[in-house]
Assembly symmetry: C2
Homo-oligomer: 111 residues x 2
DNA sequence: TTGATACATCGACAACCGTCGATACGTTGA
DNA sequence: TCAACGTATCGACGGTTGTCGATGTATCAA
C-alpha cells in the first residue's frame, strides 16, 4: 500500500509502453489499489467537489455512511499514498486533494 | 470484479466532477481493482508490447513466473472486465488488448 | 480543572483474493 | 483410437483488507 520508488519520481512507469518488471508492477498495483476502493473513491470525489476544496473528517463520515474510525483509516491510506494532504486546525483535521498525484496514475495508463 | 452498468455506457463516471454515489463508487472500485494487481498489470503490459499485439497463455506463463492456472485465472478476470479479448485458434487461446477499455478507466480520473 | 468535542489508534473478526497442485476438457497429429 | 499438448476449472490454503466498538489523545470552552 505504500507509494515509493519509481512512482515518486517525476516521470512515471508506463504500463503500455514497455514490459513492466516485477517491482514496477508491484508498485503500480499498490498505487492503484489505494483508489480501488469505493469508500476512498467517494472520499476523493467529496474532496474534489467540496466547498473550499477541503473537508474535515466530521463532514465526511455521514455522507459515506461509515464509522468515524473507518473514515479516518481510509483518509490515512490516501494520505500515505500522497493523494490527499492533511492539515490540523484546532481540533479539526482538514483534508485536501493532491490532483497531481492522481494525474500520475492516470498517465501511467496512456497507450 | 464485474464491469457492468454505468461503466458499460458510452460516457463514464467522473470521480472528480460530482460526488460519487455508493453504487457508482462500488463499480469504479471493482473496475480499478481488476488492474490493481501486479500480475494483471504485467499481462496488459506484455500484450501491449507483444509482437503481433497478441499472445497465448503459454507465452505469458514464463515471463510472469506464475503457474499456468494462475495466468489463466488472471486472463479470465481481465477478459470479464473487457480489458482483453480472447480468441481460440486451434489448441491455443490468443489474447489481445482492448485499449478503449483502459481509456474509460483513465478518463474517469480526469479533473 | 472538568467536560465535551474531533480525531487517531488498537484489537478482532469476517470476507475476499492470489496462488498452487490436481484434474478435466478440447484439439491435434499419429 | 490413442497420446500429447494447451487451457480451463476445481478445491484448498494463507495472507490481506475493510469494518467496527472500545479506547487513547489532543484541543477548546466553561
Amino acid at each position: 500500500m505504500k507509494l515509493v520508488g519509481v512512482i515518486t519520481e517525476e516521470c512515471c512507469p508506463q504500463v503500455l509502453r514497455a514490459p513492466l518488471g516485477a517491482a514496477e508492477a508491484e508498485e503500480m498495483a499498490a498505487a492503484l489499489g489505494v483508489i480501488a476502493d469505493p469508500a476512498r473513491l467517494r472520499l476523493l470525489s467529496l474532496l474534489a467537489t467540496a466547498e473550499d476544496r477541503e473537508a474535515c473528517v466530521c463532514d465526511l463520515t455521514e455522507p459515506l455512511g461509515l464509522s468515524q474510525p473507518t473514515v479516518s483509516h481510509h483518509l490515512r491510506v490516501l494520505a500515505e499514498a500522497g493523494l490527499v494532504e492533511r492539515e490540523q486546525r484546532g481540533r479539526w483535521a482538514f483534508f485536501r486533494l493532491v490532483p497531481e498525484r492522481l494525474a500520475i496514475l492516470r498517465e501511467a495508463l496512456v497507450p
